[in-house]
């Protein structure tokens, strides 16, 4: 059976959920061979084996943390040359897309980014994408070379599927371009204790209607009662009320949770682009004419400062 290379996104050996989703998709095409780089790479093996990785190629070097992107491209290329896979799958993060693109160019392949589904086809894997602010769904494939495809979080279920997950050291020699861009400082994001925005099953977002940074505590309280991630519209981020890392929309994160709750968000195209594929959409807005109501499964026309705290209280009460 053909092997499929899966690039592993992990933090010190803790595998992030989108990588496990990739393994589900990879198994539709062939046998997943994982590539884990950097500090803690070997510690990823157990989780990857549980989810279907037949092999885990690992390599650690200081270059991965000290220089931007290119060392990882060199390593993924080394894995590609060793394995000769039927496809290469990479999580669709900002960095993932850059790594995948450079690899595709080096190996003479095409690249598809931000797939939301993947299936085997007669002439290679077929990727589903959601385009034009999620108003169209396309199906594409790679016409030349080995398919290199990046896949968005929440595109597939995480499915346990025990496999060998044999750890093998990957031999990597860095190119002279690897050290071109130095990382001279790194400030980790403070943990909020909430789920990752792109991975969360429920997202509660606030927009212009929230009116201030302090008022976001109302949104956070609802999110915490539901175990949800907090999002913000571009208007709220541009106003400085919430960090850009939480922005949902075209220039922020694109999310596809089971439930999306929009509070005080009108639903401009820039926002819709980032949340339109959510399974269930709920909105609270004062303006009955707000375009967000065209998308909702349930909408409340009303003041979010009344509705959201009441909802939070009700959720807490029902939890007992």
């Amino acid at each position: 059976m053909a092997e499929v290379l899966v690039y592993v996104d992990h933090v010190d050996g803790a595998v992030r959920k989108p990588t496990l989703e990739l393994l589900t998709l990879a198994r539709r095409i062939g046998e997943p061979v994982a590539v884990a780089l950097g500090s803690g790479a070997e510690n990823t093996a157990a989780a990857l084996a549980e989810h279907g990785a037949v092999k885990v190629l690992t390599h650690d070097a200081s270059e991965y943390a000290d220089y931007l992107v290119v060392p990882k491209v060199d390593a993924l290329q080394a894995a590609y040359e060793q394995v000769s896979p039927a496809a290469v799958l990479v999580p669709s993060s900002a960095e993932g897309k850059e790594i995948a693109a450079r690899l595709a160019l080096r190996i003479g392949s095409g690249i598809i980014t931000d797939a939301v589904d993947l299936e085997a086809g007669d002439s290679g894997p077929v990727a589903t994408q959601s385009v034009f602010a999620a108003s169209f769904t396309t199906k594409s494939r790679i016409a030349k070379g080995t398919p290199v495809i990046t896949v968005k979080p929440n595109s597939a279920a995480v499915e346990p599927a025990a496999a060998a997950g044999a750890v093998e050291a990957l031999a990597v020699s860095f190119s002279d371009k690897a050290t071109g861009t130095k990382v001279t400082g790194r400030t980790p994001r403070e943990s909020t204790g909430r789920p990752e925005l792109t991975e969360a099953a429920i997202v509660v977002s606030g927009g212009r209607g929230v009116s201030s940074a302090e008022n976001f505590s109302i949104i956070e309280a609802l999110a915490d009662s539901l175990g949800a991630a907090v999002g913000a519209s571009r208007a709220a981020v541009d106003a400085g009320w919430y960090p850009h890392s939480n922005q949902v929309g075209q220039t922020g994160k694109s999310v596809s949770p089971q439930l999306y709750i929009a509070s005080g968000i009108s639903g401009a195209i820039q926002h819709r682009a980032g949340m339109q594929t959510s399974k269930t959409i709920v909105a609270i807005n004062k303006d009955a004419e707000a375009p967000i109501f065209d998308l909702v499964d349930y909408g409340v026309v009303g003041d979010l400062f009344d509705v959201v705290p009441q909802l939070t209280e009700e959720v807490e009460a029902r939890k007992g």
Partner: protein, 261 residues
């Protein structure tokens, strides 16, 4: 010596318009008004700021696209860029990201550069991979997705806000930079700028000017194929209630019915 900045820009269909696909499954550029991709305005803005801080700098805006793409160049010139290059050729129709990066790289090399600045992604394709591809093709460092950027003594520095951490980056010129919409509000063209732009030079190059063959680009040269494009079915109309004092409770009832609580 003058700092040579090339800003890559894209002419895209207006995102607020009714965007759709043409019969050959390329983006329909005829039925929706086009404009300079909003995210490229940030690249032009940062180029202008870097040029203002430099002793001597020249900004060239570069686009690959059909006849109308000149509008995007004109906008960038009216913001303050010095000159423009338009790569235009009928054989470019349907070119994918890999092909676009080839054409841009050839044009950037021909124009001469110390610094390439791009937006974080186009507003139509939204892939965000062209800056990385340019870095790979030109063989120079990529310093991408910056929310803050500065150039001093032949070194570019910037801040890249990632999911897990915010990183400080540094590379020697020549380099490829991309900037996000967090890098700073783009200026509006002044009346004077708009008038001045009309006199600024816009060069037109075709594939032969770049020593490229038709089969390296366009739909035939593309490494990817779109097999189908379907309009997403409109979401079925949901229940909308007016809050009469029980809106939160009604919403909780709905969420409980859907097993979310």
């Amino acid at each position: 010596m003058s700092l040579r900045i090339v800003v890559t820009v894209k002419y895209v269909p207006d995102a607020t318009g009714d965007r759709h696909f043409a019969d050959d499954l390329t983006v329909d550029r005829d039925d929706v008004d086009g404009l300079l991709s909003e995210l490229d305005e940030y690249a032009v803005e940062q180029a202008l700021q870097i040029a203002e801080d430099a002793d001597d700098a020249e900004i060239t805006v570069l686009t690959v696209g059909p006849e109308d793409a000149k509008d995007a160049l004109r906008k960038a010139l009216s913001m303050g860029a010095d000159k423009a290059i338009h790569v235009e050729d009928d054989d470019l129709h349907g070119t994918d990201a890999i092909g676009t990066s080839l054409v841009l790289a050839k044009a950037i090399e021909k124009a001469g550069f110390d610094l390439v600045i791009s937006g974080m992604a186009s507003t139509d394709g939204t892939m965000g991979v062209v800056p990385a591809l340019l870095s790979e093709r030109l063989g120079v460092p990529q310093v991408t997705l910056l929310s803050e950027v500065s150039v001093e003594d032949g070194t570019v520095k910037g801040r890249r806000d990632g999911d897990a951490a915010s990183e400080q980056l540094e590379a020697s010129l020549p380099a490829v930079v991309s900037v996000t919409d967090q890098s700073g509000e783009a200026r509006y063209p002044s009346f004077k700028g708009i008038m001045a732009a009309k006199k600024k030079p816009v060069e037109s190059w075709d594939l032969s000017d770049l020593d490229l063959e038709a089969e390296q680009v366009g739909l035939d040269g593309a490494h990817t194929v779109v097999d189908s494009a379907a309009e997403r079915p409109a979401r079925t109309a949901g229940t909308i209630v007016k809050d009469e004092g029980e809106g939160g409770k009604q919403l909780a009832e709905f969420l409980a019915g859907q097993k979310f609580i």
